[in-house]
């Protein structure tokens, strides 16, 4: 399985770091891309990840109200909801896209959520719908 996680620099990336510092375990399938803000995550990157064969994508940012840039995570949520609609519309399993609020102290939550998302993705199986094959 391949799971791409976009993590904001201020909360979620720090939360993922804390998971590490606390030596909590989660699947190796999770690969984190650091961005400054969840509001920076371009929907095209998400689609690109699916095209490249990602089985799941997670956008993770600060809890509502905690955004370092005040409103970035609200934008992330709006785009996420819209993208889900779009995915459903074209008949793509929208469960493969997840939005997660994780703070810098929620290392455990981060690890647990990654674990459960991996399990969900496993049930869905390999993602072939959007994967590009030459």
């Amino acid at each position: 399985m391949k799971i791409v996680t976009f993590a904001c620099n201020w909360c979620s990336y720090a939360g993922a770091d804390l998971a590490g510092v606390s030596r909590l375990k989660y699947p190796e399938d999770v690969r984190i891309v650091r961005v400054m803000c969840s509001g920076m995550v371009n929907p095209a990157w998400i689609l690109r990840a699916f095209r490249q064969g990602a089985d799941g994508v997670v956008i993770t940012g600060c809890h509502p109200g905690d955004c370092h840039y005040m409103v970035g995570n609200y934008y992330a949520k709006k785009r996420y909801l819209l993208l889900k609609e779009l995915m459903k519309f074209v008949g793509f399993e929208d469960e493969r896209l997840k939005l997660l609020w994780a703070s810098a102290s929620e290392g455990k939550k981060f690890a647990e959520e990654m674990d459960s998302f991996k399990k969900l993705i496993e049930q869905l199986g390999e993602q072939k719908q959007l994967r590009w094959t030459p």
């Binding site: 391949k2 620099n9 909360c11 993922a16 770091d17 909590l24 400054m36 995550v41 370092h68 840039y69």
Partner: protein, 993 residues
Amino acid sequence: MSVLVVGGGIAGIQASLDLAESGVKVYLVEKLPVIGGRMSQLDKTFPTNDCAMCILSPKLNEVARHENIEIINNADVVALEGSAGNFKVKIRKRPLYVDREKCTGCGVCATLCPVNAVDEYNEGMNFRSAIFLRYPQAVPKVFAIDKSKCIGCGICYNACVAKAVDYNQKEEIVELNVSSIILAPGGRLFDAKKRGEYGYGIYKNVITSIQFERLLSATGPFEGHVYRSDGKVPKRIAIIQCVGSRDEKTNPYCSSVCCTYATKHAILAKEHIPDVEVHIFAMDVRTFGKGFEEYANRAKKEYGVIYHKARVANIMEKKDGNLLIKYEKDGHSYEEEFDLVVLSIGFEANEELRKYSEIFGIDLNEFGFVLTDSFAPIETSKPGIFVAGVASEPRDIPESVAMASASAAKASEFATERSFAKKEEFPPERNVIGEAPRIGVFVCHCGVNIASTVDVVELAEFAKTLENVVFADHVLFACSADTQEKIKRAINDYELNRIVVAACTPRTHEPLFKRTLMEVGLNPYLFEFVNIREQCSWVHTDRARATEKAKALLSAGVAKAKLLEPLQFVEVEVVKKALIIGGGLAGMVSALELAKQGIESYIVEKESELGGNLRHIYYTIDGKNPQEFLKRLIKEVESNPKIKVFKSSVVESVEGFVGNYKSKIKTPNGVEEVRHGAVIVATGAREYKPKEFNYGHPKVITQVELEERIAKGEVPNSVLMIQCVGSRNEERPYCSRICCQVAIKNALKIKELNPDAEVFVLFRDMRTYGFLEKYYEKASKQGVVFVHYTPENPPKVNVNGEEVEVEFYDEILGENLIAKPELVVLSAATVPNEDNEITSKLLKVPLDANGFFLEAHPKLRPVDFSTEGIFLAGIAHSPRLIPETISLSLASVSRAMTLLSKDKLVMDANKAEVTKERCDACGICVKACPVNAIEIVEFKTRTGVELKASVKKAVCLGCGICSASCPKGAIVVKGFTFDQIKSAVDNLLEVVV
């Protein structure tokens, strides 16, 4: 010269950062091995429930990294000589038994240590090792051996790959010359055992509020699960207020923070255990700060938290561990059963203050806190020594932070030289534009931290196979000094123009490597960090799979590095002047402090004279004369050559950005244009003109009007005061904070001038927080009658011709009473100025729901706006008393000085940039930008004029909301461009098997 800051809690941290940022060298002395103080133990912070560590940890790292700050940890001040401007301090550095320079903070020692010692950070609820780091995010990230627990087995000594453990380390005495001192040692929490009737230490399910805080925390003893001692999840929690506060036997003053933190605890308990019932027992609910009343309302309405206006007499334990609480309410006694009791313990004076008072020669007050003056709240009794935070009175984080900034302003008056990191230290930058990427990769073992899970040798070999990688190696510690040299040599020998380091997290170590690049003339933005420790080796166990993942991460990092461009720090010239809007107490204090720091300012006052609300204050609760103070201030302001006052004037327009503003001021003599680098908003607030209680009748007046009369010698024989008029209602949900104090002040004044006068106060909660409590006590003792009322059953003021009568319900007698006082005095709300909206639009800064100005962050940035260069002072922020207003005003100066002390502002280069060819000027990005950094401007082209988006680099924060909003990909954030991340994502996935 330099400043000594004593105490590394949030106050000491903020003071150090402000000083360091304005070019003053700081020595930060902390008694523990790590900084962070009380705030580091908090789970969430009120009233926003922000995660405490999320907002604290960036500050910790900033302190660790700032070249003007030297942390002296595990140390105390032992002696002081000299006077303001020239102090000589002796500091004792106790041994850590670990070499500060060598320890990388990897933590292998702690995992192997066989000792179980009580974990103070988790308030004794679990164990730590003898070699330990107080908490995972701690700074400095150096382990220390607790010699009282160490058994000397030598396991850590042998396990440490960096050879940092040194059992023979000795105590050291350091001598420093400093020009001023800031005392911020914080407070101590009350020992709940002293209130034996609550059974703390005997009953297992009676815990303190700080223990509850740790239980709630994800890094706490049960990882954020709230359990009782027997592992049961509590279903009924009682929170008891004023344990060790407002108590004759222990501490008579109010601890100010407990009511709001108890509210937080109740809300968080509900979030952790949805079906839990939480009861708070309090004499008065004192949620007086900005947004606190709304917070308590939410606790009641949304979370169903139950508040009892009651004092708990005692607690008895049942066999099953449950607790029976006996309490008094409305004159009756009750008993109720709970399964967990949380005691809201208050602040006490830090035990070290007594020692410091001797060493420093400063006075303490009757409660053992540092003595200050209402008109000089930051100064101690000794010139050159200042105080911040809980050391002078119990206070919450924003007040402590404001005070810390204020103390930084005062302390830097004595620091004559300012020094900034000089750019010339670095060799000229090599031009790499046009060169093909030549990437160097360094893979870190981190001792065994990475190497034990990830095959670093294979990873380095793999790196060599990646496109454009011309050099790859693996190193024991990438952060060590010898590796830095190795990197520099490789850059020169192999003509590298991009560096990728696969090691730990960029959040702590990126600046180190960027600096290394600069030292050999390579642009620091040509660096990419790959996290294979926190996000790989530490979270995985399967070596093959972890190595495979590390390869993917590295491959993504290299792919992104390929597309990195050299970026230039954004530099802005600074006009070293400030514009102050409002000439009341806050504006004048700010201007005078700026003048002391050598900065010119313009005060714009809409009235024809300076002074604002202070003009209507004739005496203070502690017997000071505000009118004399005001006269002195006005004289100082008007005679100061660095201050220009525009009276009967308004600011018409403000253009520009941080460091460079151009404003037009409409004065009676026409429009004046001024240039300045910062703005301080000190527009104040005013007393509400009540619509309720027949205000307007000659016998119904407000507190300000009463004060005016008393000052003229018209002292009434009988007065009935009504609290919360226009506050804490639907229209104005906030608490006006100052009115309880004003009522008591006026009541005491009446009693002083006319001891036989009858004074009644009808109140909802008496909010005489902090040391004000003693005046509440005094008023009660002098016969002022306090009668509680509820908003459901408010008093009625009936008018009958010239006469007024007040009908109110007495809870203890259980009946309605009628009073016919000579005067009915309404404690009217403090309301925001009508023209706040205009100012808000003028400066593009936000207002809160109540119409006061909204600061950048309610906790840690109380006087900053999210727009850089604009600051907030005084009661335009929220209602507050004179000392608090002064503190906030000095704080705004300190924050402004972090800009105005510099000739040029140097900002991070990760900013948004527009590709003009793609931009259609649709304006979506303009709306999306949270700080108004983007504007649509006209560009001249060969074919005419075109509209395009343009980024004000000095304002942009680099969040990238714009880039994801742009339908044409015309705007990107440098360092996180569309292609860079896309390429990283591609490579992250390609190698996955």
